[in-house]
Amino acid sequence: MTVVNATMAAGTAAVSVRGVSMIYPGPVQALQDIDLDFPAGQLTSLLGPSGCGKTTLLKIIAGLLEPAAGTVTVSGKTVKGPGPERAFVFQDFALLPWATVMRNVAFGLELRGVPTSEREAVAEKYIGDVGLRGFEQKYPHELSGGMRQRVGLARALAVKADVLLMDEPFSAVDEQTRRKFQEDLLQLVSVEKRTFIFVTHSIEEAVYLSARIVLLSPRPGKVWKIIEPKMPRELSPDQIRREPGYLDTVESIWQNLKDYVE
């Protein structure tokens, strides 16, 4: 495990956050002067206790919230709202209950005016990639929580965005399903070569999934430490979870975060 700088040399970052602050009415300082770079083609986690503003930061990057100060650039362009190069995976899945898995996955493309046959071909591929083949004509209420989030993930993948923003995607999914899902996500990250920004409050999840972990401290949310877990990724998931490098990283993050937990 190594501790690294928040910002990187120009060109290697897919997403750059500069001087971002956020104030909610109250006033509550949710984020204070965040400087961060997210390396391309890797999964970065935003980790911290509740109230540290990690979801706020993710929604600012998504263009769903406007920061009080500072800028976000994605592939060199300043973020002014949602854009085609970013896709969002929601904590509560945000699926259309009246639409089939097929239509939900293709919905991002439908909104962009892609013709039906074309968008369904794309959706078909990603439905297969997230392991939902055979469920194309099912409705969300016929699926389990884990399968619903797979639909949410497939929808985000289908718009071919370079950056995937995932807001605690597994928090509404039961533990067994979550583990399987995490393994599948790692597989996807290595195949898809996209930039993943992943919000979580689970230390184990962050360490298991991430190339780098941004630790945020709460009230006001600040970048506090950046950690790059080092562990042999070629091992099987079960071996990784018993690996000393993995366990040490989990333990040291916990020691660090402990002070912020009441």
């Binding site: 509560d92 259309l96 639409a99």
Partner: protein, 252 residues
Amino acid sequence: MSRDYRSTALTFASFAFVLCAWEFAGRLPVSNAFPSLSATAVAGWEMIRDGRLPTALGITIVPMLIGVTISAIAGVLLGLATGLNRKVEWVGIPLFLVLQAAPLAAIIPMLVLAYGVGLAAKVAVVCIMAVPVIVLNSYKAVQHTPPSLLQMSHAFLGSRLQTIFKVILPAASPVIFAGLRLGTAAGFVGAILAELLISPTGIGDLITYHQSIAEYPQMYAAIVSVIILSALFLEFLDRLEVALFRPERRTA
């Protein structure tokens, strides 16, 4: 499967219970003005055969359908406008809240002054009864679109129009249609009220006439025919909603 079977059985049981109670109460009798189910059915059958009931329904249904159609279109559009736009909301909603609370039957004499005793006044009564509840339901339906679906549409670059048609309307449709059902029922009440209070035509005429000459079975047959008409129309609305907006309920 077995659950469907049981729910159908219970529905039939509840209808059978009410109808038996009616027959029993009619035979006691609780009042000379309360005919039994069988007497009402016989009277109803005769009125169907000699054409009086169909003719009367045919007359009553005209202001009902015109009024309910106008109310549904105007009510849903107004409700959507108030739900989607802050300024329209401030202008419109307090007015409809007052209208919904007002005992609207009391202003029927005023409508007669304005529109006379013909079809226009009756349509106006139907609309006045039906519109407020349709507007308020549509408004609430739009306001209660799940925020995460709106955010999802925004995040995936949906335009305002796309969001309205592909997210807000389908999400709002159950509550909009609940309002349409309530509004239709209120509108039907309005149509009968208008026939009783403004000028006796159609079913209102049958009810008034048979009451005045103490032919209670015929009077009840006329009342029951309106109830059946109203129930059938509400069932039709239910099917329309599923067909238009809720494909996931077709198989469920």
